[in-house]
Symmetry: none
Subunit: 415 residues, 2 copies
């Protein structure tokens, strides 16, 4: 008998459309991986009566009920109250949590108000789920063989709590069959070409395979069932091997490995260092690379030359080149990469220049025109892109295609 779960998202801002419920999405992706059935979701505003009703309905038909949001210190944070009512228990104060909160506020130099004590309340019988990323802890509330799990709304608190203790708890509940997935990460190939090459596998049923198009890459999720992970792996392993045989270097990693991580690992193994020269991305490429913990072993730094004269001053791009070709040009991208390689003293440098919009450049370069440069010990390359996306997405895609270019060079695929 498989366990069923249901999400109750609590927040007027969700109903009003001020935010989209990406937390419910994150949890929705996790549940099938853990073999948990998931048939309903409810969204209610910050209203005690309606939140309580939603919880009662959910508890009547699902084994595990998640609440998302409404755990903060303010008066419209009423999830704790609604859960206590739905379970028919009182709220109690937990002095240790209050003590921790006081210390946290002191550390951050924030003024303490007694309202903060609301975050130290729990329905009688509940266990606290630690929240190292914020003030309100999560709550695990038992109810006659069922569970209500209260999770905080802020994404930076929600995601680590779900991926850590909540995932572990859910896995312990549901130990009979597992649904086990792995994700292969593919770059330098469009989704439809991936599908064409893997048509028979995608139409197969064990494992199931599904592609997801991401910004400039494709993720392929393989899923198999089994009595345990090892048994599911027996189904997945040969299929993964076959996919890797067909797609070759395009499969750059699996699981949570990002493209930047794959590049950094390879650079570190070679003892090579990396830097960037950025215009259109404004520092975003460096920021993306340094998301990886330990990236400092290969990534040294970036020269962000948003203002054109800085391209000459900091990167040595000749003024005449800029006058002739403009800053959004293959020539400029190449000179930027070569300049960064020498000025930062790195072995490999990426550069980005382009027009993210919303208006054409003063010299007429159209919105969406982007050049990415790469300078290496083997020589320098430039590639041109014409994006039709909005400003934010164009900047993000520029970062992705720059990393793809670096990866292709590392795999000997750039010529």
């Amino acid at each position: 008998m498989r366990i069923s779960a249901e999400i109750v998202s609590i927040g007027t801002e969700l109903l009003m459309g001020q935010i989209v419920d990406t937390n419910a999405q994150h949890l929705g992706q996790l549940l099938p991986e853990l073999g948990i059935e998931h048939y309903h979701r409810q969204t209610v505003g910050d209203n005690l009566e309606r939140a309580t009703q939603a919880l009662r309905l959910a508890l009547g038909r699902s084994d595990v009920v998640f609440t998302i949001g409404g755990l903060g210190p303010t008066e419209d944070d009423l999830t704790r109250d609604a859960v206590a009512r739905a379970l028919g228990v009182e709220l109690e104060f937990i002095p240790e949590v209050a003590e921790k909160l006081r210390k946290l506020f002191a550390l951050r130099n924030l003024a303490w108000t007694d309202a903060q004590n609301r975050q130290a309340m729990r329905p009688v019988g509940a266990t606290v789920i630690e929240n190292p990323n914020g003030s309100a802890p999560g709550l695990l509330c038992p109810s006659g063989g069922k569970w209500v799990i209260c999770l905080p709304g802020p994404r930076g608190e929600f995601v680590p709590m779900v991926n850590g203790p909540v995932r572990e708890f859910l896995a312990s509940l549901n130990s009979e069959t597992v649904i086990h997935s792995r994700v292969l990460r593919i770059c330098g190939m469009g989704e439809s070409l991936v599908e064409e090459r893997l048509r028979d596998i995608i139409h197969g049923s064990s494992p199931t395979a599904a592609t997801y198009a991401k910004s400039a890459e494709v993720h392929l999720r393989l899923t198999a069932m089994g009595a345990n992970v090892a048994e599911a792996d027996l189904v997945l392993d040969p299929v993964e091997l076959e996919i890797r045989r067909r797609l070759g270097w395009h499969v750059y990693g699996s699981g949570e490995t990002s493209l930047e991580e794959a590049c950094l690992t390879e650079l570190e193994a070679r003892g090579q260092t990396l830097g960037t020269a950025e215009s259109i991305t404004g520092g975003g490429l460096g920021a993306q690379i340094t998301v990886v913990a330990g990236s400092g072993a290969a990534f040294l730094g970036a020269l962000v030359t948003y203002w054109t004269p800085l391209k000459t001053q900091l990167l040595g791009v000749p003024k005449e080149l800029l006058a002739t070709h403009g800053q959004v040009s293959a020539e400029c991208a190449q000179a930027m990469a070569i300049g960064a390689k020498s000025r930062l003293g790195v072995d490999v440098a990426l550069s980005t220049t382009g027009n993210a919009g919303p208006t054409p450049d003063t010299d007429g370069k159209p919105v969406g025109l982007v050049y990415v440069g790469l300078a290496t010990p083997d020589g320098a390359w430039v590639e041109e892109f014409k994006f039709r996306s909005e400003r934010a997405e164009t900047r993000l895609r520029t970062q992705r295609v720059a990393l793809t270019m670096l990866y292709r060079w590392l795999r000997g695929q750039l010529s």
Copy 2:
């Protein structure tokens, strides 16, 4: 008596988190504008029984029930069936719709299959809502003074149908009042202190006021009803004034204005330029600032010195300072800001250095310790932060507190 509405989103891909429900968001934003109450949302998979139950529950408590999705030609498109069951009526075939579909298919050179006829079915009594952007029409189904409105899932069909005929129909139902909102954006003050200062306003009922905690800032939404927007503004204006009087410089903007935008506008007005020196943020501060279109009017560039020796080379941080205090120190942050101001030739420079984790620095600096520096024509400042968040969130918060520091300086609040 105000009308209430409820959304039932139908689609297994929504529960599984393969897509987020931006359609419900779009509709959620529209309803308060039209003065329609909106207290619940349900999401169910492609299952006839559960979709029917969800519709019955919704019809029991709401005047208008929207379904989103499940109107296509395939077997898991069962919204029509669920609505007919929930309303207790039969489905009937509409020859004119089928005829239109056949013509559409011929025009597009698409192969016709009889499955397409499913899209020409309606619950008895329903009216068709034309769908010029796709094959399945929408449906308007009356039920004893209430309505079920069936909308297609594909966004390119959904949005025009909602913005056009559906909006018009809803306005005709509810022509008496509008609900009008505005958002005030607050920085440098925690959510509970904001609430304390505005307790009477938050407890008031016209306008209603609600706070939302964001990464290092707080948003306050004021909402008023009126016969029209101008009348609602008459309620909102004096309250906004009073809030601004009480919170002073902490209110940095309203609506969609971001903190970086507020800073850039002020810098541009003063004719001052901005740059950054980044270590822990890896370029993310520059990237965040350049999210703003036109940021180049004030923001010139960044020196990202992730590797310690680059702090000396590019920013002139003395080697002895680094040997004595380490790179995660107030002294280093200050020297980085001063170095960036001079090397980039800007009027104002922000710097970031810290340990985002996951492990302590080689010189023992703990995870979460962050210094932010600011160099200006008036002098230089440094602030220390001890974050307890994860790596990604710590980097993001560092960016936010750096911008807050710049904003405070611009408002004369840094001493």
